[in-house]
């Protein structure tokens, strides 16, 4: 019964979305406040209904109600509770419901925080959000109903894919979707602006917090997914340029560009048309990503989407929204007036450069991802586009951008002084080269390019700090004055610096691992010792164990350095009972920012086993850097709220009784 209530709530959510999609926009046309105000309450209602449906599905999973087909297909009564809950979105139907939940959640947020927006803008934005919600609610109800029943109900479920039984699944998809779908708000704002034919700096100010929030979550989601793949897949890779990874990376690149162009628009009223276009493109790439993953066109044997109607349905959604938005753009863009003027060498110029490179990079990833598909459809030729292609093209594109990053915040608006800025960054370049050389010698040589890679990363970090130091007048004014100025800097300055520092840290990690990683593949018998990264690993033997729904064999290793025992590590292979599927649980030990990564292979005779040991120098920098980027996003977000006052309830000074001041 409760399952049917969940299904019914979803149908009601669709009905609410239809109302929210139609009436407010009419209200905006007719200037009818009643109709416009409907948007906010409809958005909240729609969110509550979808949330209820989602809660019902979660309830079915937690209580292992195998009369629901979706639960039977993806759950098992013995599965630990956390995986029962995360299993809700570990499958096609559930993940689409999560998509819709987050979309309506953002609509409700706009309704809640949008009180100070112009009425017509709120109405239009929420209406556009509702069109998207309508499309996806229809998609779920017509092709991917998670509430479908199974008669008679089986006694036991088929269990969730063992690789997905990990805390990673609990965190990664919700974060990724918060980012992915969060860009829908930017899209809706852009389309609403085109419908109204009016756009100004205030618009950019309203859009920026949403962009920042979505970008921050997407950063978190991608980074989390990368770390998950790293420790779970058992071969120590952290980025594969897999089409599905690219699907989430493209909106991130475009979103990063949007973040920067919206800045120009907000401060200088320039790049209006471009920003609107970028907002549309960013969410279009999110939709494209959803299509690529959900339809299975890229991986024709993709287990999630066996039903071609789903692919066609999402393609229709894609064509409608992207096509519609671009058509609207073509009609209306000329109505938008271009704004502020700036010299090529200026803060605006630097941000335009950022946009040029990031857009080109996005297009490169998009081309690389879709090229084999299109070429095969057109000519029948089969080619592959894999990591070597992306590393080369993307890497080359990023080089000039990375070098330019510290210049941006140092250049003045309107007209900047390139020579002066270069002078101020001289110390950063010097420190970078010094660190690069030092690390190079410390690692006893290696590819010379690695030296410059590390130098570039350190230069980014020091260069970003230079901006903060110069702004607080460090070295020019007394220490306490500099400190007061430093703490008085706007939060967005710290946000920028943190995000750029994070980029530098990630770069250092990427370069160090790529250039200095070592890999040892050996057959080990108990008592044998192998050296890796300056540490010695002794294989002590195997042990059998079992968990709630798996059995495992674990190898025990003792780690020592210079004869001193430092640590120990277990590396396991698991066999999940329900699906008879093996997984590798790599043994990972962290030393500073570097890691030893131990993975088990096949057993060989006489108690021996194949062991793979990697030394991953500075690898934690890769994800540590993204933590800085996220911190930058949140810090910047807090600044926006305070200064722009999205809910602008300006605090009035407390009225003081006349005479009391005397």
């Amino acid at each position: 019964m409760i399952i049917e209530l969940g299904h019914y709530a979803l149908v009601l959510a669709l009905a609410t979305a239809v109302i929210q999609a139609a009436l407010p926009i009419l209200g905006a046309r007719l200037n009818d406040r009643g109709l416009m105000e409907l948007a906010s309450s409809a958005a909240v209602a729609c969110f509550l209904l979808v949330a209820f449906a989602f809660a019902v599905l979660t309830f079915a999973y937690v209580t292992s109600d195998f009369s629901v087909r979706n639960v039977w297909e993806n759950s098992h009564s013995l599965k630990p509770l956390i995986y029962k809950i995360s299993g809700v979105w570990g499958n096609h139907e559930g993940s689409m419901l999560l998509w819709l939940l987050i979309l309506t959640f953002f609509s409700a947020l706009v309704a809640a925080f949008g009180r100070n927006l112009p009425e017509t803008l709120t109405a239009n934005v929420l209406a556009v959000q509702a069109w998207i919600a309508m499309a996806f609610a229809l998609f779920i109800l017509l092709t991917s109903n998670p509430f479908a029943r199974l008669v008679p109900a089986p006694g036991e479920g088929k269990d969730l894919n063992p690789i997905l039984q990990d805390v990673g699944l609990a965190i990664h998809p919700p974060l990724l979707y918060l980012g992915y779908v969060g860009f829908s708000v930017c899209f809706s704002f852009a389309v609403a602006a085109l419908i109204e034919g009016r756009i100004d700096a205030a618009w950019a100010r309203w859009v920026r917090p949403w962009t920042l929030a979505a970008w921050t979550f997407l950063t978190a989601g991608i980074s989390m997914g990368s770390y998950w793949a790293y420790y779970e897949l058992g071969w120590g890779g952290w980025w594969f340029w897999d089409p599905v990874e690219n699907a989430s990376f493209m909106p991130w690149l475009a979103g990063t560009a949007l973040l920067h162009s919206a800045l120009v628009m907000e401060k200088r009223e320039a790049l209006k048309i471009w920003t609107v276009l970028l907002a549309i493109m960013t969410f279009s790439l999110s939709l494209l990503g959803t299509f690529l993953v959900r339809s299975g066109v890229l991986t024709s044997v993709h287990a999630f989407a066996t039903d071609p109607t789903r692919g066609i349905f999402i393609l229709a959604i894609l064509v409608f929204f992207i096509g519609g938005a671009f058509a609207l753009f073509a009609f209306r863009a000329s109505h938008l007036k271009a704004g502020g003027i700036f010299a090529p060498i200026s803060r605006e110029g630097a941000l335009v450069f950022n946009n040029l490179i990031l857009t080109t990079a996005t297009a490169t990833v998009l081309t690389g991802t879709l090229y084999p598909l299109v070429l095969e459809a057109l000519t029948g030729d089969k080619i592959s586009v894999g990591p070597p292609f992306f590393n080369m093209t993307f890497g080359l594109l990023m080089l000039p951008l990375l070098f330019a990053v510290p210049f941006g915040p140092l250049l003045a608006w309107k007209r900047g002084d390139l020579a002066g800025v270069s002078q101020r960054l001289f110390a950063a370049v010097a420190i970078g080269l010094l660190c690069g050389t030092a690390y190079y010698y410390f690692m006893n040589g290696g590819p010379v390019l690695a030296l410059f890679g590390i130098a570039l990363g350190v230069y980014l970090i020091v260069g970003s700090l230079t901006d903060l130091a110069l702004r607080s007048g460090l070295g020019k004014v007394a220490g306490n004055v500099a400190w007061r100025r430093f703490s008085g800097l706007p939060r967005s300055a710290f946000g920028t610096a943190l995000a750029h520092i994070g980029l530098g840290i990630t770069l250092v990690g990427v370069v160090a691992v790529t250039a200095f990683e070592t890999e040892t593949v050996v057959e080990m018998k108990p008592g044998m010792t192998v050296d890796a990264g300056g540490y010695s690993l002794r294989f002590d033997g195997m042990r059998n164990g079992s968990g709630p729904n798996y059995t495992e064999e674990s190898g025990h290793f003792t780690i020592s350095r210079g004869g001193v025992t430092l640590s120990e590590v277990w590396s396991s292979k698991r066999l999940y009972q329900a699906r008879r599927m093996p997984t590798t649980e790599a043994g990972i030990r962290t030393f500073g920012l570097s890691q030893l990564y131990v993975s088990l292979g096949d057993q060989i005779n006489e108690g021996g086993i194949v062991v793979r040991i990697w030394w991953k120098p500075m690898i934690l920098c890769i994800w540590g850097g993204t933590l800085f980027m996220m911190a930058g996003g949140f810090v910047s977000l807090s600044d926006r709220r305070l200064r722009v006052g999205a809910p602008a309830k300006a605090k009035r000074p407390k009225s003081v009784p006349v005479g009391a001041a005397e």
């Binding site: 894919n161 997914g225 081309t367 080619i383 990591p387 292979g601």
Partner: protein
């Protein structure tokens, strides 16, 4: 989501926890082995999704790894080995496609976009610059200004 797909990709690989490169495959000469690893990273495992033969544990990938090492041990150059593998398995096996007519757009895209984008920006900046300078005052206007400025 990416993670789900990766997991599913892994499912497609033949089940078994065998590793990519096994100790029995490794060549005795470290320089030759390093070349073999570099070549392997550029060759696709034909039965997997987006995995190089260096990463894959599929049987076919193992055969290819052994093949690459055999050719190298016979004294082939890197190019000769890759050419040989392509002649047997087609261009699909290359993870970095060759620069040819059919991959022109693929390889040309980044540079073209960058150049076209840069030219557009420069032209736009010039136009804006011209607008910013505005038109100089006409003679009549100068006369008028002079009069106004005179006490």
């Amino acid at each position: 989501m990416k993670r789900l797909a990766l997991a599913l990709l892994l499912l497609l690989a033949p089940v078994g926890t065998a590793f990519a490169v096994n100790p029995d495959e490794v060549l005795a000469d470290p320089a030759l082995e390093a070349r073999a690893r570099a070549i392997s990273a550029e060759l696709r495992c034909m039965v997997c999704q987006n995995q190089s033969i260096d990463d894959s544990n599929a049987e076919l990938a193992k055969d290819l790894r052994v093949l690459v090492r055999e050719r190298l041990a016979n004294g082939d150059s890197d190019e000769a080995v890759i050419d040989y593998v392509v002649s047997r398995y087609g261009e699909f096996v290359l993870l970095k496609p060759r620069f040819e007519t059919k991959t022109l757009i693929l390889w040309g895209m980044p540079a073209t976009l960058l150049v076209v984008g840069a030219i557009t920006l420069i032209v736009a900046a010039r136009r804006r610059g011209a607008q910013a300078k505005g038109t100089p005052l006409s003679e009549a206007e100068k006369e008028k200004l002079k009069k106004l400025l005179q006490p």
